[in-house]
Symmetry: C2
Subunit: 245 residues, 2 copies
């Protein structure tokens, strides 16, 4: 519980290796997560080699955290192995479809989060790289992912070389609904976002980007409509290529 | 770490309530999970009311675990609240697309897994209901989910009234790849699945279902091609209706 409450994303790591024994402990804890029908329809790609990492880093838009981490772990939805088992056992698989992708993506994200918590419990730091879905196509090429394997997320992991402050969260009542979804009044939105909007970093974000509101920093700079639409088309194309649609 | 390694899915709960204070602690820990750009693009629907639960249970195919649990928690990808904030702040949102769905789905699954770990740390038991994506359409109706909200998974949660044995997992080397994905030889598949195939429960599964192999129990009984294709079409239709495609 303490580990969960103390979580901070780490973006700067020491130049110090993570032993393979420790990594195995972390991934073993990862794989204890719930998995649909105990099928374990996922794979975990551990990249430590400089050459492979140097191919992956630009695909994560050269984020400094990706460069700093001694290990990048790519978590993949994977029906390839399961299907191969089925085919070897005179069983006709039917997992080349979108529902199976969703099932496998859910499975692997539970593993990823378990692994992150195990890592943090051991004193390591982690950062999720959301860029994985953006450049899934190129990551598939670098990591030689076969059909029915799709990279869902990546974590950068290593020994922390920074101790950033905790970041804010919306009040719990902003994200929890009792029994049914209730729509948000203007007053509620104002109240739920007030603290975030009042933070010094938020005001600095607005100023640096020459915007009027914090929301505009998201819509006009960080997560833009045009980019989202471009990468949506790209990711859907890759899901087709990988055999999930 | 211990909590992660001891995880067992619980399908039978005591007739004993979970206090709202404890539930809040668990969901607070859930919301400390990493979230894309600190946007928290998710919502959590807590259903305890008998009437609502009785509407949800058939949508989870009347699984006994759903009936047994005092609380069902539906974890939703949610850009609705964020978009409402943007609109109130003179910012033009562009999150009605598939990439944004993926982003939000990833976000909420990390929250769900954190919440499960927090719950288990407090002695509660959990079970993921994979049926959520199958019947997303009807769940959306019951829970009044607006556009840009999509139910990704549900957990049944309560005080355990059973203590099942740990379930098997594939050997770690079956799911972990070093540097790049390596294809599986026949020998590897045989070796990785040997333990699972040797289990008494597996042999019983095969016999009960009158099948030749364990894989056939998955392909012909549990996760059938026709069902997967039917529910794939359905879930893609719902993603469109909710504005994510």
């Amino acid at each position: 519980m303490e580990v969960l409450l103390k979580h901070k994303t780490i973006r700067k790591f020491k130049d110090q290796p993570v032993s393979s024994e420790l990594l195995n402990q972390i991934l073993t804890a990862g794989c204890r997560a719930s998995t649909t029908g105990n099928m374990q329809v996922y794979s975990i790609i551990v990249s430590e080699d400089e050459d492979i990492k140097n191919q992956l880093i630009p695909l994560h838009f050269n984020q400094p955290v990706a460069k700093s981490a001694p290990i990048l772990i790519t978590f993949c939805a994977d029906f390839h192995r399961f299907v191969r088992w089925c085919e070897m056992r005179n069983a006709e698989p039917g997992y080349d479809n979108f529902l199976s992708f969703l099932t496998a993506a859910i499975d692997v994200l539970l593993v990823a989060q378990n692994a992150c918590i195990a890592a943090e419990d051991k004193g390591l730091g982690i950062c999720y790289l959301g860029t994985t879905t953006y450049n899934a196509k190129e990551i598939i090429e670098v990591l030689d992912l076969p059909k029915l394997v799709f990279p869902v997320t990546t974590i950068a992991i290593g020994w922390p070389d920074e101790n950033p402050p905790m970041v804010d969260r919306l009040p719990l009542e902003a994200v929890v609904h009792k029994e049914k979804y209730r729509s948000y009044t203007e007053g509620q939105i104002n109240s739920y976002y007030a603290y975030k909007e009042s933070l010094k970093e938020s005001l600095q974000f607005i100023k640096e980007n020459d915007k009027e509101t914090l929301a505009q920093v998201f819509t006009d700079v960080r997560y833009k409509k045009g980019d989202n639409e471009y990468f949506s088309d790209k990711v859907l194309e890759v899901l087709k290529e990988q055999g999930f649609m």
